[in-house]
Symmetry: C2
Subunit: 247 residues, 2 copies
């Protein structure tokens, strides 16, 4: 319990931002650590960083030296190639990590942009590797997180390679729903933080196609949608949509 003293406010601030007291600890890095290990983690994750909506957390080409855990907010990552084309490679929410792509070349290979005012915890990568060598659990957890990212990417490849437009959007909505649920939010009702254009880029579709698919889903009673607000009315219906190649 925090001491009642003149330093109370500062204490609270510190407590509030420590991994050991973070309400994301079941989703984020601390998973599975004991008390002593958690303290070491707290030391490592000393810096926090606020990012305003629309600002970059990092840009492709910048030197990599830390990964970031999202404490609050919402991000997108995107890559762009010379001729101007770009693609959103992912949307990240609280408890998820950003920057894993930078490890390989020690240079960030994509851009990370806040889609709403956000706060991230800075995890200096060399410290993380150091602590991983001491704490088995942390090491293993980190490996799992990287692997999960690979599996997720395979899922997106599947989506882009084999699904038609409406299936892609259904998969996208169900995925969002599941992730909001894991964070204690409603599985059926949420605000999209990204534009139709960004959804389209992620799903390999044009914004008009995304918009049409939303409208169709609404006509069919699968969802209620009004701009960024989405309410899922028929989860089973959306799932069924995904398992039919045509029709």
């Amino acid at each position: 319990m925090p001491q009642r003293s003149a330093t109370n406010k500062v204490m609270l601030e510190v407590v509030k931002t420590a991994c050991s007291n973070c309400n994301l600890r079941e989703l984020c890095m601390p998973l599975g650590l004991d008390h002593r290990e958690m303290e070491k983690l707290d030391e490592m994750v000393s810096a926090r960083h606020r990012i305003r909506r629309g600002e970059h957390l990092y840009r492709a080409g910048q030197r990599f030296d830390a990964i970031y855990a999202i404490r609050s907010g919402f991000f997108k990552t995107d890559v762009l190639i010379e001729d101007g084309r770009d693609q959103v490679t992912g949307f990240q929410m609280t408890g998820e990590l950003l920057g894993l792509d930078g490890i390989s070349t020690e240079t960030h290979s994509c851009n990370a942009v806040a889609l709403e005012d956000s706060e991230v915890c800075v995890i200096p990568f060399s410290h993380l590797e150091g602590l991983s060598r001491e704490i088995r659990t942390l090491q293993h957890h980190f490996h799992k997180v990287m692997s999960r990212e690979i599996v997720r990417d395979h899922g997106v490849m599947m989506l882009l390679g084999t699904m038609r437009a409406e299936e892609r959007l259904a998969a996208f909505l169900l995925n969002l729903s599941q992730r909001f649920t894991a964070r204690g939010y409603s599985p059926a009702e949420f605000y999209l933080r990204m534009t139709r254009d960004e959804i389209g880029s992620y799903l390999g579709l044009k914004l008009e196609t995304v918009s049409r698919a939303f409208s169709r889903f609404q006509e069919e009673g699968l969802i209620a949608v009004q701009q960024k607000y989405v309410r899922i009315l028929d989860t089973a219906g959306l799932k069924k949509l995904m398992s039919h190649q045509r029709g």
Copy 2:
């Protein structure tokens, strides 16, 4: 130097399959290790495994406990979903690792199939984590390899999300060329180990489309292709193709 003795032959066999003497050491796990560290790696990577063309190295759903380094041969990985659709998520060649996707859930999330008679080195994962805690260089290298896989996946997402058929095939051929080059083979001439159907699955195209694109490239003098044999005649032309959205 191997001793001249009755055990000579056995010795040679051991030497031949040790990481420290493997001609892939600049591509594979040993990268950057000193002599002592290399010896420890040799101990860890004790088992080898032969896989015949068409056989599975592992299947989705099987328990994960090792990753595999390809010593010789060629593999594909694919995922399949309930309704029967499947997608090739990658083609792997010598020196590359297989099985990273299994770390996250301790269960393989895709199938790995040999496209020609192959040999892999078995790297028990718990041993690898153990050794990573001892050897900084190995740990860092392993992290880089995982990260590289993530970056590669982003490249594929880009390809699937934004490129048209011919661009995809051009990108695919250039990528193969580059990887063969890194292994000391000709950059301009190689045999494809996979079918048109498998290429198509990987690129999000139907096999007929792949075939047509091959034919078109040949007509335009970019490549010479006869079944599985491919000869790149105009690398610059293929690259140029990739940077034009239409035309």
